[in-house]
């Protein structure tokens, strides 16, 4: 018998006797293939999306870091390096201005003179030091001016509070000296913690 005819006839016979379930299994396998293919496409799209998201986020982050470093560099070279002596001079002058309060005779005239001296020092400090920060960062300026105002306001209130005797040295230390030292430290903290953002 011709082998080819044998194979053809065999295949024809086999297909006749193949159960329907086999045919159904074939159909189900095709659906599963479609599902897997679709899932693969979706996963690929998601991967591309994720890669693009990471790329743009990293690029933005890099630009932000550059800007922060730029601001920090400008703060140091334009302001800090040339003006820190003014910072320390201000606080030294404020301490010196308050020393007359330790005399025994404190009247309203003396209190007024001390208060006006401190406010004048504060104005000078703002013009020569604090305003410089407006060129770098407005929030930084606000923090420093708030801290300075906190000092002057506190001294003013203590001066004209009749319940406080500033000629008594421990009281003078608590109400005046401690506040000056605290403000100086807080302002340094503000400068130190500035990160350019």
């Amino acid at each position: 018998m011709d082998p080819y005819i044998f194979i053809h006839d065999s295949v024809a016979e086999i297909s006749k006797i193949m159960p329907k379930e086999v045919t159904n299994v074939v159909i189900e396998q095709n659906i599963w293939d479609y599902f897997c293919s679709g899932a693969n496409v979706l996963i690929a799209i998601a991967n591309i999306g994720l890669i693009l998201y990471i790329f743009f986020r990293e690029r933005k982050s890099g630009n932000d870091d550059k800007e922060k470093n730029r601001k920090l560099g400008l703060l140091k070279t334009l302001i800090i390096d040339y003006n820190m002596d003014r910072f320390y001079k201000f606080y030294k002058n404020v301490i010196e201005s308050t020393q007359p309060l330790l005399s025994e005779k404190i009247d309203n005239t003396l209190k007024t003179d001390v208060n006006e001296a401190i406010l004048a020092l504060s104005t000078e400090f703002r013009q020569e030091f604090v305003d410089l920060f407006l060129a770098i960062d407005h929030n930084l300026y606000n923090k420093i001016i708030d801290e300075t105002d906190s000092l002057t306001d506190c001294i003013t209130k203590s001066l004209f509070d009749e319940g406080i005797n500033l000629s008594y040295k421990p009281k003078f230390h608590d109400e005046i000296e401690a506040k000056i030292n605290e403000t100086r430290t807080n302002t340094l903290k503000i400068l130190f913690s500035y990160k350019g953002e």
């Binding site: 007024t112 105002d149 002057t152 306001d153």
Partner: protein, 116 residues
């Protein structure tokens, strides 16, 4: 627009609740903001040609922080010259508020310039 209105800072003096002692100073942004809101100074400035601020007796200091917050919007609105023309300051005692007032105006306008 009406002619003139008066804001007397006497009614906005801080008072110690325990001792009843009335403050002899005006300090702080919080206080300035409170007086600005309670007095409705921004609205009065829009509706009146002149606003007189009365500084009471026995006031020894009005600090720039207080003035800065009290007048921040009207100074920005009108500018320094028009603000000083519109607002009159009358002191019933001996206190002269010119220096802290000018310091406050400079700060307000300086901040605005930096933001522009």
């Amino acid at each position: 627009m009406k002619e003139k209105t008066v804001i007397n800072l006497e009614q906005y003096r801080a008072k110690d609740n325990k001792t009843g002692i009335i403050s002899k100073v005006f300090t702080g942004r919080d206080r300035g903001k409170r007086v600005r809101e309670e007095s409705r100074i921004d609205s009065l400035a829009q509706n009146y040609k002149k606003v007189e601020i009365i500084i009471p007796k026995n006031i020894y200091s009005i600090n720039p922080s207080f003035f800065e917050e009290l007048f921040v919007y009207v100074v920005l609105e009108f500018g320094k010259e028009n603000f000083l023309e519109k607002f009159e300051f009358t002191s019933e005692g001996e206190y002269d508020c010119n220096k802290p007032l000018n310091e406050a105006i400079d700060r307000i306008l300086r901040s605005k310039t930096a933001l522009d």
